[in-house]
């Protein structure tokens, strides 16, 4: 299955909620939509699902134009953040409901429901009603319904957001396997960068109603195409600074300088934006190439496995994230060491240059 968006837009009143967007989503891997609340993830899903009309553009499923088809005719499944089940039906009937609507034979329904229930470990609960289930079981019921249906596309809109942390971890681990080999295009919306990384597959970064970058998840994390994408795909937030390139050197805020190599060295002299992830700014020296940044520690966080510090450097606040426990002291000057090999450089238009 291929789901093709061609120059689609969505309009609400005078505002474009989705600005012209083209994407080709395929089966065989997760397609993650990553962006903050209000960036357009749910709006885009509603367009794909046929719940909202397009203002312009086309949506194709396997080459067939479905832009004018309603949701039922598109043969899709949708799982929301808030578990939606029929309260008066048993778990079995909840999972079976779309199959009954489709007029499937009873014996086949039985088989499909049991298979989905086995995958999601709901077999012992098939005769309960939703209110007798925990939140995680209710959401698994909604997921089982999507799996049993064998639709052409499955839209998962922040399906784990309302679950406990550990349960989320467990289901997130299972989800890609659940949908593997089922032939549906799977679209998964999340606001959590780490979730996108864990799900892998392809990711579309969304900001302000459009896609700022689309590609293999790990690759776009490593090579953000523009400053906005670098920022969207970062938690904790990526450090951003303004540098001046002078010859073979980058000068940051007039405070720190380092030699440029490769593509960056070949750029014309002038101002650029630099971005570097917090885990590349450490309180300990890691190599002779490190650049020292001295700043005042503002806030520290210790999670046991990692230590982070916000510090004031130049005219901005920076963040350092290191493995293990580091005894930062708030209000003190602290040396941090940046690895220049991991810097991303962007031009005046915000696009990646090196």
């Amino acid at each position: 299955m291929t789901l093709d968006l061609r120059n689609v837009t969505k309009r609400v009143g005078a505002n474009l909620h989705i600005k012209e967007t083209s994407l080709t989503l395929e089966t065989g891997h997760f397609n993650v939509l990553l962006g903050e609340t209000g960036s357009g993830k749910t709006s885009l899903i509603k367009l794909m699902a046929g719940l909202d009309p397009l203002a312009s553009g086309q949506i194709l499923m396997d080459g067939e134009d479905v832009s004018k088809l309603n949701t039922q005719k598109r043969n899709i499944s949708l799982v929301h953040q808030f578990f939606i089940n029929y309260p008066h039906m048993t778990v079995f009937d909840n999972i079976a409901s779309p199959l009954k609507v489709a007029g499937m034979a009873k014996s086949e329904i039985q088989g499909r429901v049991e298979e989905a229930a086995d995958i999601l470990q709901l077999r012992p609960m098939l005769h309960r009603r939703p209110h007798e289930l925990s939140g995680g079981q209710q959401q698994r019921t909604a997921l089982a319904r999507a799996i049993a249906k064998e639709s052409r596309a499955v839209f998962l809109d922040e399906p784990l957001a309302n679950l406990d942390y550990k349960l989320r971890e467990e289901l997130r681990d299972q989800l890609p396997e659940l949908f593997a080999g089922r032939g549906a295009v799977v679209v998964y919306a999340t606001s959590e960068p780490e979730e996108a990384l864990l799900l892998g597959g392809m990711t579309a970064l969304m900001h302000d109603g459009h896609v700022t970058q689309f590609g293999p998840t790990a690759e776009i994390y490593r090579k953000p195409a523009n400053v906005i994408s670098a920022d969207v795909f970062s938690d904790p937030p990526i450090n951003i600074g303004e540098i001046t390139k002078q010859g073979n050197e980058a000068v940051l805020n007039g405070h720190a300088r380092w030699p440029l190599e490769g593509e960056a060295a070949a750029l014309p002299d002038g101002p650029y934006t630099v971005a570097i992830r917090p885990n590349r700014v450490l309180p300990r020296r890691t190599s002779t190439a490190n650049v020292r940044l001295t700043g005042t520690v503002l806030v520290t966080e210790l999670s046991g496995s990692e230590s982070s510090a916000h510090f004031h450097f130049g005219d901005r606040n920076w963040v350092s994230l290191s493995a293990g426990v580091f005894p930062f002291e708030v209000g003190q000057e602290q040396e941090f060491f940046m690895e220049p090999a991991h810097c991303h450089y962007f031009g005046a238009d915000g696009n990646r240059v090196a």
């Binding site: 903050e36 609340t37 925990s134 939140g135 406990d164 942390y165 550990k166 349960l167 971890e169 681990d173 606001s191 959590e192 960068p193 780490e194 990384l197 864990l198 892998g200 790990a218 994390y221 970062s234 938690d235 904790p236 937030p237 992830r277 885990n279 503002l298 806030v299 520290t300 966080e301 210790l302 999670s303 046991g304 496995s305 982070s308 916000h310 994230l321 493995a323 426990v325 708030v330």
Partner: protein, 361 residues
């Protein structure tokens, strides 16, 4: 601000509880110091909300007492306890300005206007909302609404305790980060006694000086974030804290040694004598390394999280995760695992049963 004492608390929602299963809170006995930052951490249904409601006075415990600065407040109504609360969903008046929202808890208690103006200005400055003080609350972004809601909780100077009930659940991750550090900074400045209730380990560990981990109505461990991470007192804590959590492997003991699949595994220290039947080895993924020789395992899954790579393996049916910086193996590959001995512990019936090695001290 006050010291808070929970003395032999038990609570049941049944009028006539029969056994321990009828208690939502089984036995809570602890002291929280004046000015500390504490977190109550646990999954849904662990009793943390019940405990919060007992502290705030919405619920009178079936047994036991609660003291603020050694004064018994068990029977006092919420309004008589002089506490402040911040909830999951922002509680603000949409039609009022940010300034009036922040002033409300003070005006409500008849604080004079000069004082109100001073406190509102201070809190607004700390929360970085000075610029929007005259804006209507309805027009604010979700994170600014929650900031104002927090401000309302912090504006009164003399409250006994400020309680936060999952305050960041509805906030986006990147804003969560900002608000979390803001809250931390506020605590470092105002030094109020704060209690933060959450199921999110990251929020609990980054906010609190001391975290109370709860499961099934009981406290499983109280400790600093580092203690909970480094030496979990129970396999539940090991599993619940950390991402992924601690690897827990069934093992046998023979002559004071732990045997896993017929091979001896070096532990941090001596095995403490005791009864109990189920023994397990616990070692965090951070302390499992891939090596030339060691326990043989097959790679089940590789997750590149950006700052490190999680390698999930199977030893027979037992799952073991390792965290590596680079050079991850392929899925399906056979690898050899080493457990760092000073971070490898034995658990008996769930509870820690090794003495601490020197390195752990």
């Amino acid at each position: 601000m006050a010291k808070i004492t929970l003395s032999n608390l038990r609570h049941s929602y049944y009028p006539d509880p029969k056994g321990p299963d009828d208690y939502a809170l089984k036995m809570i006995d602890l002291d929280w110091n004046d000015g500390g930052a504490y977190a109550l951490l646990g999954p849904s249904g662990c009793g943390k909300s019940t405990l919060l409601n007992i502290i705030s006075g919405l619920l009178v415990p079936s047994e036991g007492r609660i003291l603020f600065d050694d004064k018994d407040v068990t029977e006092l109504a919420p309004t008589e306890r002089n506490i402040a609360q911040v909830f999951q969903f922002p509680v603000i008046y949409d039609t009022m300005s940010v300034r009036d929202n922040l002033a409300f808890p003070l005006r409500n208690r008849g604080v004079d206007e000069t004082m109100v103006a001073r406190r509102v200005a201070e809190i607004a400055e700390m929360l970085e909302v000075t610029d929007i003080l005259d804006r209507k609350a309805a027009a604010l972004s979700p994170d600014n609404k929650q900031k104002v809601s927090m401000g309302r909780g912090l504006v009164r100077e003399n409250v006994n305790v400020v309680m936060f009930d999952e305050p960041l659940t509805v906030i986006d991750p990147h804003l969560k980060w900002k608000l979390r550090s803001k809250l931390k900074e506020l605590h470092q400045r105002v030094r109020a006694t704060m209690i933060y209730v959450t199921h999110d380990q990251t929020e609990a560990l980054t906010f609190a000086d001391q975290v109370v981990v709860m499961q099934d109505g009981e406290i499983v461990q109280i400790g600093t974030p580092v203690e909970l991470f480094e030496r979990p007192a129970h396999t539940f804590v090991g599993h619940f804290i950390g991402s992924p959590g601690m690897n827990i492997l069934p093992c046998e003991t023979q002559g004071g040694a732990a045997m896993f699949r017929g091979k001896q595994v070096a532990l941090e220290g001596e095995i403490v004598p005791g009864d109990g039947t189920r023994t397990e080895i616990g070692v965090r993924p951070e302390f499992v390394t891939l090596a030339e020789s060691g326990i043989e395992a097959v790679v089940r899954k590789i997750s590149d999280v950006g700052r490190h790579i999680v390698v999930e393996t199977l030893i027979g049916e037992d799952r073991v995760a390792a965290i590596v910086k680079e050079n991850a193996p392929e899925k399906g590959e056979t690898v050899h695992l080493n457990f760092r001995p000073d971070r490898t512990r034995l658990y008996r019936d769930g509870w820690l049963a090794t003495t601490a090695g020197e390195a752990a001290q």
